[in-house]
Symmetry: C2
Subunit: 185 residues, 2 copies
Amino acid sequence: MALDHAILVSLLEQPGSGYELSRRFERSIGYFWTATHQQIYRVLKRMESDGWIQVREVSQQARPDKKEYSVAAPGRAALSRWLHEPIEPESVRHDLAVKIRGAAFDDPAALIREVERHRQAHTDRLAHYLAGERRDFTGPGAPAAPDAGQQLQHVVLRGGIAYERMTLDWLDDVLATLRRLGPAR
Amino acid sequence: MALDHAILVSLLEQPGSGYELSRRFERSIGYFWTATHQQIYRVLKRMESDGWIQVREVSQQARPDKKEYSVAAPGRAALSRWLHEPIEPESVRHDLAVKIRGAAFDDPAALIREVERHRQAHTDRLAHYLAGERRDFTGPGAPAAPDAGQQLQHVVLRGGIAYERMTLDWLDDVLATLRRLGPAR
DNA sequence: TCCTTCTATGCAACTCGTTGCATAAACAAG
DNA sequence: CTTGTTTATGCAACGAGTTGCATAGAAGGA
């Protein structure tokens, strides 16, 4: 199970509360791993009772108090162990592909709007990635000599950018195919 | 839940037994949706009791009997309903990206062999896809005028091919980055 | 003052997915 | 004639992930 490890990595990059983690899972970490706040709180609780992470109560003004988590030595060791063991190449779950093949038994043209919606979502995500890349890595305010952590974050982000570009090209191919098939079955 | 719908699509393309479906989920359908045989048998049982699919006992010689499933009218209606409702763009789960960002807190060079292993797996998958494309769509024995179903299967396969090519390029980028960082932390 | 929004944490119930195990028919190899 | 492989189906238990709901502090606006 990799949610544990995704959280450990995120906390090593920057300690934070469950709430902050759930926000990160809507952005940077969320680009390659998703989790809801319930999942995150549950895992944090388990990792804390296992001694993998430490809590610190932080009083805040202008907002409720929070629990700030940081990685303890056993957590770091667990992450290291996981990094050294092989994992299987990911298993895929691609609803849209199921729909496209299913369209053969329905009206292919009815899928066009759905595919266009997905295309828009991927366009937005690509723009978001590119803005992040400029801000953190290629823009004027970016570090001239990035450290290992920054270089690794950048290569992961480049993967996200490549994925979105590939997906946009493919969705154009899908749209062209659906339009060629026309409204009839 | 899309496993139901993936199975319905597969049974519409070709009726078959749970065992045959689980083989298909190791190949064509498995390119964009994974499932174990236990999952498949469980869902088949539920869909049968819901009247979505029909069973036919088939006696075979030289091997055990099987239950051949095919889609009934209510199943087809359920699929059609699903095709017409919008779905969220997929949520991502990419272990390797977690590992790459985690490598900043361990030894980046130790990941090289793991990444090379993944690269090999994707090379194999690409070769497999390309062989399938030649066999079914672009080779000499392929249909000159493919029907809607074949065109849709082909565009999904092209997506798989584009994905593998993009991934191979990215893994090369990852390898170059890891090698540049060197063995030290 | 009430209502909404944002921050912050959590329980309970459920469904989905994985792992381990079990059975059995048919054939092939030793 | 036992052992191993392929085809074929399934149960039980567990772990991961989702959905709905609940609470509460603090700020801002109607």
